[in-house]
């Protein structure tokens, strides 16, 4: 973790008024598995969580509240928040306080029960106990103001734009990301209702056309290196008639080598490939979810490394990330972003280390001969242990196949990066097109069975 880099701003990410050891609440983009964090998760799970009521109607603030949250409602709430601060100032209160709910630092422990763990409450006060508290308060108020402005003007801002408004105040991007998510969590709405989007991170390419409401259109094959994942608006129409499959690729490098391959001419005409460059952002996930909702007959596959991070990334696409669980609350007009029908395309353990020279099995033979199989690091093993402990890879979790692959990795102490597939005759892309054919036949068989 970056404890040594600009500690000043890092402290903004620490929970206020916590007696926990330092660093236990450092916000980290991907879940780093420090023992501290695990311990903290455990402690949190065993504490009764008191939930402060922030909703007007007085319902206990579970995520299942069924009120209609629209733009006016959100504006009203943010104004209430800001107003209470102004009133506090006018009344010359000694301490001004904003109550926020957060999911940062929550574990995946309860994911399996199908319930979203309740958020924790944090209090942000001014002047607070020290300069950090005061600064944190200022950050939150400034973000509330920016969101309010976006909503009033009805413009969409990226988290990146927000950061660049006041880089000196925010210090670094994760500070903005975290408090924006906390504000969404507090209001119990997806972030898009705050008119804030993540900076577009994902790339997509393929034979689709997005016809915008204003008459313009976005073509999936317009750029040789793919286009930024677009945000689909209600007035847009998506033409997917040429797309037969959707492939989500963990790594940008692999995405690029697919697009630069001579075979892409054929593949790209019948499918869609997307990469969010590692752990996926909400924009990419929402785009995929849109495709899954509108085109349920198109199979969706994930190509990730055979290592604990790869499985975790696939899990984030399929089951979502708990830190942003409020994004998944299914509401009437704001569907969740999970992809329950995402299928595991590769890399799987049966793709590696088989007998060389077995008749009719040249594919695996070639793989066995390569040296692309690597040993697990201590971090990999630790991560695998934590994943086996709870959630979808737990003993009674919903993904027994993933659990088995994690255990096989631990048994053999090996992992496989998808680049190994490039060592095959014809390279990764020819393997891909063969596998897509295999998967297509398999799903055709399934259809005949049922």
């Amino acid at each position: 973790m970056d404890a040594d880099a600009d500690t000043d701003t890092d402290e903004l990410l620490l929970e206020p008024s916590q007696s926990s050891p330092p660093n236990s609440h450092l916000w980290v983009p991907s879940e780093q598995d420090s023992e501290d964090e695990i311990l903290q998760d455990y402690l949190e799970d065993n504490q009764p969580t008191s939930i402060t009521e922030l909703d007007e109607d007085g319902e206990s603030s579970q995520e299942s509240v069924t009120l209609v949250s629209d733009r006016d409602w959100v504006i009203g709430h943010i104004e209430d928040l800001l107003e209470s601060i102004v009133n506090g100032l006018l009344a010359e209160n000694e301490q001004l306080t904003i109550n926020l709910k957060t999911r940062s630092g929550l574990s995946r422990r309860q994911q399996d029960a199908g319930t979203i763990p309740p958020p924790r409450n944090i209090e942000i006060s001014y002047p607070g106990n020290n300069a950090q508290d005061a600064r944190r308060f200022t950050v939150v108020v400034r973000i509330l103001e920016l969101i309010h402005g976006c909503l009033i003007d009805d413009v969409v801002m990226t988290k990146r734009d927000m950061y660049y408004r006041h880089p000196d105040l925010f210090g670094k991007q994760p500070v903005v990301d975290r408090y924006v998510d906390d504000i969404a969590c507090t209001l119990g709405v997806p972030r898009s209702l705050l008119n804030v989007t993540a900076a577009a991170k994902g790339l997509v390419a393929g034979s689709f056309v997005l016809n915008r409401g204003d008459g313009t259109s976005v073509r999936g094959l317009s750029e040789p290196e793919g286009i930024l994942v677009p945000t689909i608006q209600a007035s847009d129409a998506l033409d997917m008639s040429a797309v037969h499959w959707i492939l989500v690729i963990e790594k940008e490098a692999t995405f690029r080598s697919v697009l630069s391959s001579p075979l892409w001419k054929v593949l790209g005409a019948q499918g869609l490939v997307l990469t969010a460059k590692g752990y996926p952002d909400i924009v990419s996930r929402r785009f995929l979810r849109h495709l899954a909702d509108d085109f349920p007959h198109i199979s969706m596959y994930a190509l990730v490394d055979l290592d604990p991070d790869g499985i975790h990334i696939m899990s984030t696409y399929k089951h979502g990330s708990l830190r942003l669980a409020h994004e998944d609350v299914a509401r009437r007009d704001t569907p969740g972003v999970n992809l329950p029908n995402l299928q595991w395309f590769g890399v799987q353990s049966h793709h590696i280390a088989r007998a060389p020279g077995n008749e009719g099995d040249t594919t695996t033979a070639a793989l066995a001969a390569t040296e692309g199989v690597m040993r697990l690091t201590a971090r990999d093993r630790k991560k695998a242990h934590h994943m086996l402990e709870w959630g979808v890879c737990g003993e009674h979790g919903s993904e027994p196949g993933w659990r088995a692959e994690l255990q096989r990795m631990l048994m053999l102490n090996v992992k496989v990066e998808m680049q190994i597939l490039d060592e095959l005759p014809g390279g990764l892309v020819s393997w891909l097109s063969n596998q897509l054919e295999v998967m297509r036949c398999r799903s055709a068989d399934d259809e005949m069975l049922f």
Binding site: A353, A355, Q407, R408, L410, M411, N413
Partner: protein, 311 residues
């Protein structure tokens, strides 16, 4: 000259996921998998009925099991890093009998082996250390602590007489330690790729070792010299076991194939396919009145029993 082995019985779906470990006793066989449960099946009856299940033993799954050849004791190691000891009562029921209580973390213990009398437990670890615990003493103290060069100890074995501990490592190293003196007896050369199984012959004269190099190396325990190389497996060799008499060696591979080797002639005398999934464990059953039998367990979640064809 080849030998014939016939499938006697298959317990399909013996476990809900990969069967990682089998450990026989005189009348039963213990099995463990990626689930948290140890099953114990009767090996004296034709349909190998389930006798007992030890449930919720290691929540992250169980990677190794060991039984003592001449005592009613077993040990299990789970992915969470704990080692539990089990004892069989007079009525044949298995009960928990404590665990190794040194503050173990995941990876401190990997492979495990029990001495024939069940008094000693040897363990390898991720950091390459090889430890021996005395199970008969109060508090189950650690009595030996062998340092190696830090490469992952993927497998371990104790000689039947309890005198030697052998370990195989990810960097290809094989070590033999003398438990009486606490000293390194041999550092064996020959394999450069990960060593995934080591096994002493019943008389402790030979040590077999194998892994990703796909060949099985035989060493003279006394001199430390390599005396044979058994080639034939197409995949990584994951498991080795000597027959009771020391005449045959059973091996299992990542490609799902099991082979039986006649030590006298150094020939492979039989090959069996247990599906195409990894064959994690292959064990002879102690010789009873019936002909020689062995059991295979692996990635197809099944346990299969084979016996030598009569005649």
């Amino acid at each position: 000259m080849s030998k014939q082995y016939l499938t006697l019985h298959t317990l399909s779906d013996a476990h809900p996921s990969d069967v990682f470990a089998l450990a026989p006793t005189t009348k039963s066989i213990l099995s463990a998998s990626g689930s948290s449960t140890i099953h114990i099946h009767d090996t004296t009856q034709a349909d190998f009925p389930l006798l007992q299940s030890l449930e919720g033993v290691h929540p992250l799954g169980i990677h190794h099991l060991a039984t003592a050849r001449e005592a009613r004791r077993a040990a299990s190691a789970g992915f969470e890093g704990r080692v539990k000891i089990w004892s069989e009562g007079e009525d044949g029921t298995w009960k928990a009998d404590g665990e190794i209580s040194d503050q173990l973390k995941a990876g401190d213990v990997w492979a495990i082996a029990l001495s024939a009398d069940g008094k000693y437990l040897a363990c390898s670890s991720i950091n390459g250390k090889i430890n021996v615990w005395s199970l008969a003493e109060e508090g189950k103290p650690k009595i030996r602590d062998y340092e190696t060069k830090g490469s992952f100890g993927m497998c371990v074995d104790l000689s039947r007489d309890g005198r030697f501990t052998a370990s195989g490592h990810e960097n290809g190293s094989i070590y033999v330690f003398d438990n009486d003196t606490g000293r390194l007896t041999h550092s064996l050369a020959g394999l450069v790729k990960p060593v995934r199984s080591v096994a002493f012959s019943p008389s402790t004269t030979l040590l077999a070792a194998a892994g990703d190099s796909r060949t099985i190396a035989l060493y003279d325990v006394k001199s430390g010299e390599q005396i044979a190389n058994l080639a034939g497996h197409g995949g990584w060799v994951l498991t080795l076991d000597w027959s009771d008499t020391g005449e045959y060696l059973l091996s299992g591979s990542h490609d799902g194939k099991a082979k039986i080797w006649r030590i006298e002639t150094r020939q492979c005398v039989a090959t069996h396919a247990h599906g195409d999934k990894p064959l994690w464990t292959a064990k002879w059953l102690p010789k009873s009145t019936r002909s020689e039998m062995f059991a295979l367990g692996g990635g197809n979640n099944a346990i299969s029993f084979y016996r030598e064809a009569a005649g």
